[in-house]
């Protein structure tokens, strides 16, 4: 027996399996996706309960089992349900091939079989037992954080490495003077910058400048200097610094490193200020240079890769997922083409890791939950390895949010606990929390920010019943949005504008004007694949009053919201969508349907309340810190 209570999504899976086993006298075959042995044991326990004490026997196939069906059938004597797992993941192809040719025997003996596999090996199983797979009743997902690489110990290892190098620089500072001291200070700034302590880094840079002013524009430290200024959101200083670099570059006859640094920094500057056209223009210049100067392709590729990844982050934030994927692919292609020692360098590995982070965020926007978790955990792992501490913890934080959204609160807490522990350890090692990035300040006057601000003010005005003010803010938001570069207008802001328009129309008793902007927005979001955002718009439609939208339109919207929520496993939106569906079902007299929805709502509410105390799978521990 296990005392591991199952969270709601897993309980639903158990229910489906139990119903099939009880309902069918012909046996059953389920593919169960999940790697946690604790979850598996809890599922087996729950199944025993649901089947009135019918035995559920766990069988693990050894890699060298020559007769797997004999093993299965020996366990399946009588009325036993066999819960089958593999000793290794992914299972060896030869073992899967042997499992694949026994399905008729299993069918003839009416075996009820659960075949367990980790999410990462699902495709291997499908390929390996293609014929058994074809007989499955269905696939049930019991994935948990055990299905992903959640090892964040490397974050701490990387921090230790940074702190030891910082200590080396500090040791030099204890005796060095002049040029040597300036070099050590800039080294110190570099390591502090990587730890996220940008203010301390700037202090070190300023001191270095005072000691050896001639090195201020040394290309070896120019990158650190510009990045520190950007993180601190110091636009004027950054601009002035880049202009100084520009002057040096123009005096230089050769195409040297300063050009590279400058070009990359200009591009990053444009990105941070949300001047996308300018950023892409600079990227295009790099692309041209890449193809024009094959002898220097490593240089250009080294600039293009990170630039693409950074721009991809911007595109994800605008809801332009296709453009983001296009950039991430290009980044990987450029990095993959690097020669010499480049592939071993930390930053090249970091590019791939950050790309995974952005893919994870994009997958979340699509409500592709498992894909998002796989990308985010993968990126956290790799980012930890290369010492990108803030980004690694950012990935894990988003993963924790997703676990909470899909009702795996124990897993969410497990990951969050890991984040907190790592953060504390890192802060102990580095002597304090990182300075929050103020890079956002650089985009303060952009149309995007102005639209955002106007929307917030409009929503507040509407909540306070100031419809004239709200109308003014809406007009400001619309104008700012239109002032943004047409190619790079945010789908998210457009959706928010539409929702504010609709709310204002209702507030001003113009119900017929409430639906069209929402309907248009929902269609645009669907086209863009932004299902998570579309949920918000569909809820807005479903909650419109009858005079604003027909019952059919509201029912359709509620149903659409339910589909997105259930497809992505998002519990709160599922509950909200079901509440609307229950309400509509009652309106048309479908009382049984309404009651069925209300029963699910009660179950979700109970799960959400209990979720605060749901433990994580016992085997889902984060690796211990060194």
């Amino acid at each position: 027996m296990t005392d591991h209570p199952l969270p709601l999504p897993h309980r639903r899976g158990v229910r489906e399996i139990a119903q099939a086993i009880i309902g069918s006298s012909a046996g059953a075959l389920f593919v169960c996706v999940g790697r946690s042995t604790a979850v598996r044991a809890a599922v087996e326990d729950a199944l025993r309960g649901s089947l009135g004490g019918r035995p559920v026997v766990a069988v693990t196939l050894a890699d060298d089992d020559d007769v797997p069906w004999t093993t299965i059938l020996e366990a399946a004597q009588g009325d036993v349900v066999v819960s089958l797992s593999f000793a290794t993941e992914p299972p060896p192809p030869a073992l899967l091939a042997r499992v694949n040719v026994g399905r008729e025997v299993g069918t003839a003996r009416r075996v009820s079989l659960l075949v367990w596999i980790g999410l990462g090996s699902l495709r291997d199983l499908q390929r390996g037992i293609a014929d058994v797979w074809a007989y499955r009743d269905t696939t049930v997902f019991f994935a948990s954080c055990s299905d992903f690489e959640v090892d964040a110990a490397s974050v701490v290892e990387a921090t230790l490495m940074l702190t030891s190098r910082l200590a080396e620089a500090d040791a030099v500072l204890s005796w060095a003077t002049g040029h040597q001291r300036a070099t050590a200070l800039r080294e110190r700034a570099l390591f502090l910058g990587e730890m996220g302590r940008h203010e301390d880094a700037l202090l070190a840079l300023n001191e270095a400048e005072a000691v050896a002013p001639g090195d201020r524009l040394n290309p070896a430290y120019a990158l650190t200097h510009a990045q520190v200024l950007r993180h601190l959101g110091d636009g004027p200083q950054l601009g002035a610094y880049l202009d100084e670099l520009q002057a040096v570059a123009e005096r230089s006859a050769d195409y040297d490193i300063i050009h590279n640094v400058l070009r990359d920094q200009r591009l990053d500057d444009a990105r941070a200020a949300r001047r996308w056209e300018a950023a892409f223009h600079l990227l295009d210049a790099q692309r041209v240079a890449f193809s024009r100067y094959p002898w220097a392709s490593n240089w250009f590729a080294a600039g293009i890769g990170p630039a693409c990844v950074n721009l991809a982050e911007g595109m994800v934030s605008l809801g332009q997922l296709g453009a983001a994927e296009d950039l991430l692919r290009e980044a990987e292609e450029r990095i993959g083409g690097l020669r010499g020692t480049f592939p071993q360098k930390t930053w090249t590995r970091m590019v791939a890791a950050v790309a995974a982070l952005h893919r994870g965020v994009a997958a979340r926007a699509r409500t592709a939950t498992h894909e998002a978790l796989a990308e985010l955990h993968g990126s956290a792992h790799r980012l930890g390895e290369v010492g990108a501490l803030d980004k690694a913890l950012e990935s894990m934080t988003i993963a924790a949010e997703i676990y909470a959204e899909i009702g795996l609160c124990g897993d969410a807490r497990q990951v969050q606990g890991g984040i907190d522990a790592r953060r504390r350890e890192i802060e102990t090692l580095t002597g304090g929390p990182p300075t929050p990035s103020r890079e956002d300040v650089l985009a303060e006057s952009s149309p995007h920010r102005r639209t955002e601000r106007a929307l917030v003010l409009g929503a507040i005005a509407l909540d306070e019943g100031r419809s004239n003010d709200a109308a003014q803010h809406l007009a400001d938001a619309t104008r700012s949005h239109e002032e943004d570069e047409p190619r790079f207008r945010s789908h998210y802001l457009a959706a928010r504008v539409a929702r504010l328009q609709s709310r204002l129309a209702l507030h001003r008793s113009r119900p017929t004007e409430a639906l069209p902007p929402l309907a248009q927005s929902a269609a645009t979001l669907e086209e863009a694949g932004l299902h998570r955002e579309r949920l918000n718009t569909l809820f807005e439609i479903a909650r419109l009053p009858p005079e604003a939208a027909s019952l059919e339109a509201r029912v359709r919207a509620a149903r659409g919201a339910w589909r997105i929520a259930r497809g992505g496993g998002l519990l709160v939106p599922e509950r909200d969508a079901l509440a609307l569906r229950a309400q509509f079902a009652r309106e048309v007299g479908a009382l049984d349907e309404a009651a069925a929805h209300e029963a699910v709502i009660a179950e979700i509410d109970e799960a959400l309340a209990a979720g605060r105390s749901d433990p994580a799978p016992a085997d889902a521990t984060l690796a211990p810190s060194p």
């Binding site: 099939a20 309902g23 149903r559 589909r563 349907e593």
Partner: protein
Amino acid sequence: MDWATTVSDVIYKYLRPLIRQHVGAWSETAGVAGPDFQQVYVEPPQERIGSQMKPRVPTVERLVDHLTMDRNDTLILLTGQKGSGKTFALRRMYDDPAIKARFHRVFIRATGEDLKTGLPAGDADLRLLLLLLCAEVSREFNKPELKAALKQHGARVQLEETLKQWVALLEPDGLPTPQNFSDYAAKINVVAAELSWKTRSDDQRRRSLRLDETFAPSQLIRVLSALVRALRDTVERIDPTRDLLLVVDDADKYASREEAESMFLQGTHTLREVPCKMVLTFPYWLHFDPRYNNLAADVTREVLSNVKVVTRDAPDVPLEPAMAFFREMFHRIASPQVLESDDVLKEAALLAAGVPREFLRVLAGAFGLANEFKEPVLTLETLRDAKIILAREPIATSSTLAMRARLKYVSVTRTIPTARFWELLDSLHVVEYVNDRPWYAVNPLLRDWVDEQVREDRKALSDRGVKSKDIDDQLKARWLEVAASDD
């Protein structure tokens, strides 16, 4: 006729057992729960070829015609996409009155009837297949009427000599020396069955057998031929109008490249020498391999098509002949009162892409949701709700960039360009539409998901200033490149 009248009965009494072919399709499953084969089998609609829309004789009828009208010993190789109904078609052919009247039928399951026989998974080859056939054919002599006839008439001397020579090559096994053909056949049955069992589970034994000239295909085909001729003679003595037919199902499950090459590419010329009519299933991917098309012309190849459910030009409009098929299939097992309307079946047929087993699976998922919602009937909207849940699994197995690139390529070009794509047909990520010229599409459950990504990719190139006429060409080249990488 027993049929389902409630949502839950449809799922558990019919749809789910049918997905696992739990219909007593062959003798060994007789007596198991689930609907009867005769109740659930529906003749597929007539296929039509070309613009004249001439009806094409259905696959089963073509098989029956080949077997009953061709005077020569014929080897027929049969394949079809997973879920297309190969086993049902074989069963239907096997039970056809013309076949029953004309042939003494021997059914052989390549995977074995129990856990002791059958070819080893992942490592089968022509030798082992021939050995299995020897075991199964020699076992047939145990049937009382054949045993009696053989006892009465004996076998031709040269056949007995062939067996005698081969048995002499075997190591002493403690059995008494055979005295006549029956004994030889019995001994071969014991030896072949034992070897089948040992080679199935013992890698070492399998390796040594491959080096042993006693079991060279040239030897084994002589032995098998002698057994088949003797069986054929015996059958003829009982009834001079009857011939012998071997039906080998599930050989298609030996689908690794090495297995398929040994048994079906290099092995075909040997299998052709078996002196009787034989029907053998083979792996689906092989019929895309150009080498397969170079097989001897006298080997008949049949591909069991999925039901033609749409045309290329109107992929969202189900064709009436297909609907008649799926409608009848459903109404054989369930009352019309469990459906909101016929539109539900149309949508299910479209989502199943004409693959019968997928039709059952889609309906099982949808009825499951209706059951959860306590709906008395399955509505079209609930079926569409279920699509979201059914799509989770194929999406979860398509998450790599390479898989996505393959799916996008198929979605846009409707072709499968390289061997790398064949496995997508086996896993049903891609489906084959028929019948005039085959074309391909992503599984309809994945279509929205893939289309969305194609749209995004097109927009990204358009935003980069690529001319619209060049966008798809550039994307196709890029997808092919990514598709070639590992998953």
